[in-house]
Amino acid sequence: MIKYVELLGKKIIVFSEEFGRILLLLLSTFKQMMLPPFEIKNTVKQMLEIGVKSLPVVLVTAIFTGMVFALQTYTGFKRFGAADMVGTVVALSMTRELGPVLTGLIVAGRAGAAMAAELGTMRVTEQIDALETLATNPVKYLIVPRFISGIFMLPAVTIVADIIGIAGGYVVTVGLFKTSSVVYWKRTWDYLEMGDIYNGLIKACFFGAAIALISSYKGFYTSGGAEGVGKATTGAVVLSSMTILISDYFLSNWLFR
C-alpha cells in the first residue's frame, strides 16, 4: 500500500519537476528573446523548417479534410434539406477548429520531432556543453529562434490550411455533388466573421509556442545516449499533441464564447 502511495508521490514530483522546468525554460526564453544580439539568420532557418517545409503535408491534410468534411456534411444535411449550408459548415469548422488543430498536430509530428531529435543529439554529443564553453547561451542560440518561428509560422500555415480546406470543400460540393458554386461561396463568405478567422489564428499562435517550447525542452534535457534521443523525440510529439488537444478546449472556451 505504502508502495503505491510512494509511486504516486514520485509521479507527482516528477510531473511537477518537469512542469517547473518547462516554465523556467519559457521564462529564460522570454528573457533571451528581449536581449540582443538577435539570431535572425537562425530564426529564418527555423521558419523554413517549421513553416515552409511543413506546408506540403499541411496542405494535403487540409484539402482532404475539407473534402471529407463537405462529403459528410452534404450527405447529412441533404436529409433535412439544408444542403446549401455545407459551405458555411466547412468554412466555420476549418477556420475555428480544424485549421489550427490539424496544422498544430502535423507540425508537432514533423517539426517538433525533428527539433527534439536535433537538440537531443546535440545534448548527448555534448555540443550544447561546447556552446556554453564558447560563452554562447544555448537558450538564445537554439531555443529562441525555434520559439519565435513557432509563434509566427503556425498561424501562417494555418491560414493557408483554412483557405485550402475551404477550397477542398468547394471541389466536393460543386464538383462532385453539382450544387451551385455561387451558393457555396455566398454561404461561406456571408456567415464567416473576422472573429472566426482571427481567433483561429490566435489559437495557432499558442500551439506554435507550445510545440516549440515542449520539443525544445525535451531535446534540451535529453540524457542517456541514442536511446535517450529516441525517448525525447517520442515524448516531444506525445506531449505537444496532448498539449494542443487539451489547450484547444480551453482556448476555444475563452476565445469563442
Binding site: V44, M47, V52, A82, M85, A156, I159, V160, W189, M194
Partner: protein, 494 residues
C-alpha cells in the same frame, strides 16, 4: 538551376500568407461595408422569434437589404432595416418574419406594396406587420377548446346515454331514412325539370347580381333621388304641371315669333366659324398661325435663361488683412468678386496701402550740418479692378491692381481651399524707391469654411521694400448682392 535561399523561401511564403489573409478579410469584411449603403426603414414586431442582426431582407425571395439592428422599444421589438437604394418600397408594404429551411434560417420578407400608396423614405416605418404565429399561444387556445369539447361530449352522453333515448334515436333515424328515400324518388322522377328550373334561377340571379353589383351606386342614388322626387311631386305636383304647361306655351310662341332672327344668327355664326377655320381675319390668324406659339415659347426660354444665369451668378465678399514685414505695417483690403460663370469672374477691390504716399522731409542738422532725410508714409486708398478667367485649377487675372496696370495668376488646390497666387503690377515703377515692378507671391489656405490664412513674399524685386507677409481674411458668398445685380439691366449671357 540555382538553389533558392532560405530567406527567399520564407519571404515568398510570408507574401502568400499575407495575400490570403487580405483576401479573406475583404471577403468576410465585405458585408459590413455594405452596411453604409442604402436607406433605413423600421418595423415593429411583438415577436421577432430570434431574428438576428445582419439577417437578410428579401422581396419575392430576392435579397434586397439586411437587418441592421433589433432593439427593444416599449416591450416590442424595433427592427431597423437597411434597404438597397434601388429597391422601392411603398406605404402599404407588409413585413413578416419567415424561416427558410428546417434549420430555421430566419429572414425578413417584405412585399413592396403598390405605388399609389406613396413611397417610403429613409427613416420611415413599415406599418403593416404580419406577426409570427406563436405556437405556445396556439397550443394554449387549443387546449382550452378541447376542454370545452370534453364537457360537450359528456353532456351529449348524459342525454342519449339511456336505453330509452337510444330507442327513440334509432326510431328517428329509421324515419329519416324513409323520408330521404322518398325524397330521392321524387327527385329522380322530376330530375330534368328540377335541373332546368335550377339552371334558370341560377342564370337569373347571376345576371341580376352582376347588374346590381355594377350599378350599385347609381341604383342607390337613383332610389334616393326617386324617393325625394316623388315626395316633392306629391306636394307640388299639380302646380308644377300647370307651370310646365304655361312655360311650353310661352316658349312655343316665342320661337314662332323669332324664327327668322334665329335663322340668320345661326347662318352668320356658321360663316364666322368657317372663316376662323380657314385662318382668315385676326381671330383666324391667331388660332391658326404657329408664330404666336413660337414667340411665346421663345419668350419663356429667354426668361428661363435669365433666371438660370442669375442662379449661376455668384458673388463673394472678401475682407483681408496682411501684415508686411517691410514697412512693418498692415494692409487691409476688401474685394467683391462677381462670378457670372464658374470660369469667369470680375474682382473689384479697395486696398488701403500703407506706403501709399510718401512725404520726404530733409532737414539740415545743426551742427555739424549733415543732411538728414526723413520720410513719412501715409496710408492711401487704392483700387483694384480685374478680370479673371479660370482654366481648370489655374486662373489668370488682368486689369487694375492697386491703381496701376497689373497681371496675376492663381493656382487652386485641395478643392479650391488653397490657392497659390502671384501678382505683378506697377510696371512703370511709380512707387517710391522702386526700380522694378511690384511682384507679390503667396499662398492662401482656408482653415475654416470662410476664414483663410495667407503668407508669402512681397515686392520681391525691390530691395528696399522686399519682405514677407502674413495675413488672414474672411471670404464668403453673398446671395443678396447677385439679386441686386439681376434687377439692373440684363447680365450678358451666352
Amino acid at each position: 538551376m540555382k538553389e533558392f535561399s532560405t530567406e527567399l523561401k520564407v519571404g515568398f511564403f510570408a507574401l502568400i500568407v499575407l495575400a490570403i489573409l487580405t483576401f479573406m478579410t475583404f471577403k468576410v469584411g465585405g458585408l459590413e461595408w455594405a452596411k453604409a449603403k442604402g436607406y433605413t426603414l423600421h418595423a415593429y414586431f411583438s415577436n421577432t422569434a430570434g431574428l438576428d442582426e445582419k439577417t437578410r431582407v428579401r422581396i419575392a425571395g430576392v435579397d434586397a437589404g439586411i437587418v441592421d439592428s433589433v432593439r427593444l422599444s416599449d416591450g416590442r421589438a424595433k427592427v431597423t432595416l437597411i434597404m438597397d437604394p434601388e429597391v422601392k418600397i411603398y406605404r402599404n408594404a407588409t413585413a413578416s418574419i419567415k424561416a427558410s429551411g428546417l434549420l430555421g434560417d430566419k429572414y425578413l420578407a417584405i412585399s413592396t406594396g403598390t405605388p399609389d400608396a406613396g413611397l417610403l423614405k429613409d427613416g420611415d416605418t413599415i406599418n403593416n406587420v404580419a406577426e409570427l404565429v406563436d405556437f405556445d399561444a396556439l397550443a394554449k387556445n387549443l387546449s382550452a377548446v378541447s376542454e370545452k369539447f370534453t364537457i360537450l361530449a359528456k353532456s351529449v352522453n348524459d342525454v342519449i346515454g339511456t336505453d330509452e333515448a337510444k330507442d327513440s334515436l334509432r326510431q328517428t333515424i329509421v324515419n329519416l331514412r324513409e323520408i330521404t328515400s322518398d325524397l330521392r324518388q321524387t327527385i329522380s322522377v322530376n330530375d330534368y325539370k328540377l335541373r332546368n328550373a335550377l339552371d334558370n334561377i341560377s342564370d337569373l340571379t347571376a345576371s341580376m347580381s352582376s347588374l346590381i353589383e355594377d350599378n350599385r351606386e347609381p341604383i342607390t342614388s337613383t332610389i334616393a333621388n326617386m324617393k325625394e322626387f316623388t315626395g316633392t311631386l306629391k306636394t307640388n305636383g299639380p302646380e308644377l304641371v300647370e307651370n310646365l304647361n304655361s312655360a311650353t306655351r310661352e316658349l312655343k310662341a316665342m320661337v314662332e315669333e323669332n324664327r327668322p332672327v334665329v335663322k340668320s344668327a345661326v347662318t352668320s355664326m356658321d360663316k364666322i366659324v368657317k372663316q376662323i377655320d380657314r385662318g382668315e381675319g385676326s381671330l383666324g390668324k391667331f388660332v391658326k398661325d404657329d408664330r404666336l406659339y413660337e414667340s411665346i415659347n421663345q419668350a419663356a426660354e429667354g426668361v428661363n435663361r435669365t433666371i438660370s444665369a442669375v442662379d449661376r451668378f455668384r458673388t463673394f465678399l472678401t475682407f483681408q488683412a496682411e501684415y508686411l514685414t517691410k514697412p512693418e505695417d498692415s494692409k487691409g483690403a476688401f474685394y467683391l468678386t462677381l462670378q457670372p460663370r464658374p470660369d469667369k469672374y470680375y474682382i473689384l477691390g479697395v486696398v488701403s496701402d500703407p506706403v501709399g504716399s510718401i512725404k520726404t522731409k530733409e532737414t539740415l542738422t545743426t551742427p555739424p550740418g549733415t543732411l538728414v532725410t526723413e520720410e513719412t508714409y501715409k496710408d492711401r486708398v487704392e483700387f483694384t479692378a480685374q478680370f479673371a478667367k479660370r482654366f481648370g485649377n489655374a486662373a489668370v487675372r488682368i486689369g487694375l491692381t492697386e491703381n496701376t496696370f497689373g497681371i496675376g495668376g492663381d493656382y487652386f488646390f485641395n478643392d479650391d481651399r488653397g490657392r497659390i497666387t502671384a501678382d505683378a503690377w506697377d510696371f512703370s515703377n511709380d512707387e517710391r524707391h522702386s526700380k522694378n515692378p511690384h511682384v507679390k507671391v503667396g499662398v492662401e489656405h482656408f482653415i475654416f469654411r470662410k476664414i483663410f490664412l495667407s503668407a508669402g513674399a512681397d515686392n520681391i524685386f525691390n530691395s528696399k521694400w522686399r519682405g514677407g507677409y502674413v495675413g488672414m481674411g474672411v471670404r464668403f458668398e453673398d446671395e443678396d448682392i447677385k439679386y441686386l445685380f439681376s434687377t439692373l439691366p440684363r447680365i450678358p449671357t451666352k
